[in-house]
Amino acid sequence: MTAKDLPALGIAELQSLLRQREVSPRELLEALRDRIEIVDREVGAYLSLDFEAADKEAEKANVDLPLGGVPIAIKDIISVAGQPCTCASKILRGYRAPYNATVIGKLRAAGAIPFGKTNLDEFAMGSSTENSGIKLTRNPWELSCVPGGSSGGSAAAVASDTAFGALGTDTGGSIRQPAALTGIVGLKPTYGRVSRFGLVAFASSLDQIGPLTKTVRDAALIMNAIAGHDPQDSTSLDEPVPDYAVALDHDLRGVKLGLPKEYMVEGIDPQVKTAIDAAVKHLNSLGAEIVDVSLPHTEYATAVYYILATAEASANLARFDGVRYGYRTENPKDLLDHYGRTREEGFGPEVKRRIILGTYVLSSGYYDAYYLRAQKVRELIRQDFSKVFEKADALISPTSPVPAFKFGERTADPLQMYLTDIFTCSANLAGICGISVQCGFAEIDEKRLPIGLQLLGKPLDEARILQIAHAFEQSTEWHKACAPIAATLRNA
């Protein structure tokens, strides 16, 4: 194994090399740095890197810890003390987080080394990372396509071998959808499973931090480190955390998988549908029982999601006003002008659109018709899932109705973009867990673009969907394929 081969490895493989002292944490960082230099010019996954600090951590790294010496990339919406936390927004220009998010403390306690911050849609609002106010991130499989979003930087980094694993955040699909579009694994934990302290809030009742990795086992390893109760986040659940990695090896005999009829609708790309059908058959052949189920309120999910998420966002983003940190307009006439211009100049169009929408749905006279009604329907959606989970252990669907699309293809019509969340946002509304794992390719213009299979699990049943995803992954070859830009270097 040479330094050139290191970036292609997953976390589990790295661990054995590190523990046998065949490679040192510093050598790993070195290899990663070299690879980023070559690849990231084209992919654009990273917003900032701090190898100096990472090297220092690597020197002291205890490789016998669960993630000892493993570098992890962090979506640039999670606070790492001393590092920028831009949320890909001009409004946080110059801001450095003065404290660590709880997940960063937990990652470090497990021995992992955060070394760089990845690109995203501004404040995690978007499904293609095109809403980044800083730069473009390209899909490593096809550079003219988007990597998905909002955790597009984290997904593109893992898929292009410039990260062994990464943290992302998922508010309506922002981990699972980019994982699907870049052919990797992405897990959205149950709401409250992972602390949100230090995660810059987009929609507080929907946001969750989770891993993006090359394999299901790696996702389990990161979950082992970051899951658990945090007294600093009163929405975090005080429930025991199982060892997700130990629980992986489990066959699928007797497992009931529900196929929600509302998720096999028109508008799904035919190649995606074919891949999902084949995945269902395959899971059945592994011993899983497939049952037809119904989530009758699915059609309202996107509307409910955009009402509640924007309402919460309108308040969450009010603090970005240029008074204490970040971007501040020049020579305002008065206080109102200061607020107006700072926010006008600092936020991008999609963020402004959502703040306005959220402000509107909370306004006096509209609150009952929008916000309150959306809360009631959210409860119905939650009940849909609890009923279905009486019949099925997990649900199967496509992660995204389409594979990666071209830049600009969906930006003109925000609704088109919002619809890429249709299979993912219900899980956030219901607070359940979900995972995306690769299940095939679409061939478009002679290019291969990955397709993701989504598994949705009961609250706190991450271990189960990891087991199913692992069984699927290990009995298929999809995870062995790698993006062309990474493949050329793997074989060089």
């Binding site: 999670i78 606070s79 936390c85 949320c87 946080l92 801001y95 987080a97 003065p98 404290y99 998010a101 949100r196 302290f197 230090g198 995660l199 810059v200 809030a201 929609a203 507080s204 009742s205 007294p231 600093q232 986040d233 009163s234 929405t235 309402a311 919460e312 309108s314 308040a315 009010a318 603090r319 970005f320 006003d321 008074v323 204490r324 940190y325 206080l335 607020y339 402000t359 909370l362 306004s363 006096s364 609150y367 916000y371």
Partner: protein, 484 residues
């Protein structure tokens, strides 16, 4: 035409918790600016609030003290508006489910301003409350020549908002309400309620209407009053201003006014057109909690309230209703009295000493009962020495002065100075004989039926004994001898 005023108060009370409402920063008045801050109370990106359960308990305790209904669930909402004092540009508050509803405060005579205590319109008036809710305080701006600085030490301090019904009908009643409320808050240990430290702040909603008109007049709000007497003055000004306006046929509009204490005037701040739409919605960062456990914790913390204490003092210590009122007015004074009166044979005499000599000495020395140099048991010892005839009342005052100045105990001072009352009959009789023979004219006058010389002769006996003779005994013996 006769007009009536209806006033409702919104009182903000800073709770005396050790840490802030949603973070672990200490609550401390007067610290260096921005030294008690953290990511949470600075509203930094990613920081999350966590409820301070002691603040919830103190609010529930206040609710219990004021006879409120306690909500089964404690829920917080976000109140959205932009202001530099508010780091998140929303305030975490309670909108549709306040912790406490209903309840009341009764106005005791002594809570009225001194000059108004003789003309109380409605004795023992009860002012009913609408609600009490909990929220976080904002930061404080300081305006400099060319800039404004913000001190976030105060940001996030637990703040209780107490809202009354518009049942207050005069500035004096408002004064009495605030004084009574403050007393109860201090009794419960939930706040020091010092207005000058901003621990108690008050907004007033005032409307004036012709006496015969049903329903309330136009509501005008006054903000920025920073003392209870300021509230009284502002209300007096504003009620008169509104009456004068109505009398000249002016139509009043709903508006918010400020109070300029130096000028003694209210001034227009904003009209209704600029009213905010606060867009309240439940704070998704804070999971609602049930109040059942809080209630159980707090029930045992409900103290004896001023009203009950006054009644008990009258009954248990035989003090007058007025004295009981003065003693119970100040919790520290009441505690001092009870500690001193506990073992006293005549607790009423202890009360007299406290309310007269001790209060005078304290105000003369610029001290309060909290830093009184005489511990209550020591005062009790002194009163006992007098009541048992061991020293005279006059000697007592001398001993008291010495105790107050040096902190020494009465017994030590008496011993040191050789102070004792001469109660030995034969010794006093000898002194009386000496005085009578030395003052034949006075003795003759008394015998002729003029009583006045008796006091003169008694004074001579006291003088001869260097003040040590028991004055009562001396009087009795003189009278007996002169009449025989």
């Amino acid at each position: 035409m006769k007009y009536v005023a209806a006033v409702g108060l919104e009182v903000h009370v800073q709770l005396k918790t050790r840490s802030k409402m949603f973070c672990a920063c200490p609550v401390e008045f007067g610290a260096e600016p921005n030294t008690h801050t953290c990511p949470v109370c600075l509203g930094l990106p990613g920081a999350l609030p966590v409820m301070n359960h002691e603040a919830l308990r103190m609010t529930v305790l206040t609710g219990l003290m004021l006879g409120c209904d306690i909500a089964p669930i404690c829920k917080f909402d976000r109140k959205n508006y932009f202001y530099p004092d508010m780091p998140k540009n929303y305030q975490i508050s309670q909108y549709d489910m306040p912790l406490c509803t209903n309840g009341s405060v009764s106005l005791h005579d002594l809570a009225y301003p001194k000059d108004a205590q003789k003309n109380i319109v409605t004795p023992d008036k009860e002012v009913h409350l609408v609600r009490i809710h909990l929220e976080e305080d904002v930061a404080k701006s300081f305006h400099f020549e060319n800039s404004t600085g913000i001190d976030f030490n105060r940001a996030g301090t637990p703040l209780m908002e107490i809202v009354t019904q518009p049942e207050i009908n005069s500035p004096e009643e408002a004064f009495a309400f605030l004084t009574s409320l403050k007393q109860i808050l201090i009794y419960g240990g939930v706040s020091d309620a010092e207005m000058e430290k901003g621990q108690l702040r008050c907004d007033c909603n005032i409307s004036v209407r012709p006496e015969k008109q049903a329903g309330l007049g136009v509501k005008i709000e006054i903000k920025n009053m920073n003392s209870i007497s300021g509230v009284r003055r502002a209300l007096a000004y504003e009620i008169q201003r509104q009456i004068s306006a109505l009398e000249t046929g002016e139509k009043l509009e709903q508006e918010t006014r400020g109070w300029d204490d130096a000028a003694g005037e209210t001034f227009l701040m904003r009209t209704k057109e600029f009213a905010h739409d606060y867009r309240y919605f439940p704070d998704p960062d804070l999971v609602p909690v049930t109040t059942e456990v809080l209630l159980a914790d707090v029930r045992s913390r409900v103290p004896e309230l001023p009203k009950a204490k006054r009644a008990r003092f009258v009954q248990q210590y035989q003090v007058s209703a007025y004295d009981a009122g003065v003693l119970a007015n100040d919790l520290v004074l009441a505690r001092y009295f009870e500690a001193a009166a506990k073992g006293a044979k005549k607790p009423k005499n202890v009360a007299n000493w406290i309310l007269n000599d001790l209060q005078n000495a304290l105000s003369g020395a610029g001290k309060t009962i909290s830093d009184c140099p005489i511990p209550p048991e020591a005062l009790d010892e002194l009163v006992n020495l007098i009541d048992s005839g061991k020293i005279s009342g006059k000697q007592g005052k001398e001993v008291f002065a010495e105790m107050f100045a040096t902190g020494k105990r009465a017994a030590a001072i008496v011993k040191e100075k050789g102070i004792k009352q001469l109660s030995d009959l034969s010794a006093i009789e000898a002194l009386c004989d000496e005085v009578i023979s030395a003052n034949p004219k006075a003795a003759a006058d008394f015998k002729a039926g003029n009583v006045a010389p008796l006091n003169f002769l008694k004074g001579q006996v006291m003088k001869l004994s260097k003040g040590k003779a028991n004055p009562q005994l001396a009087g009795e013996i003189l009278e007996r001898k002169l009449k025989s």
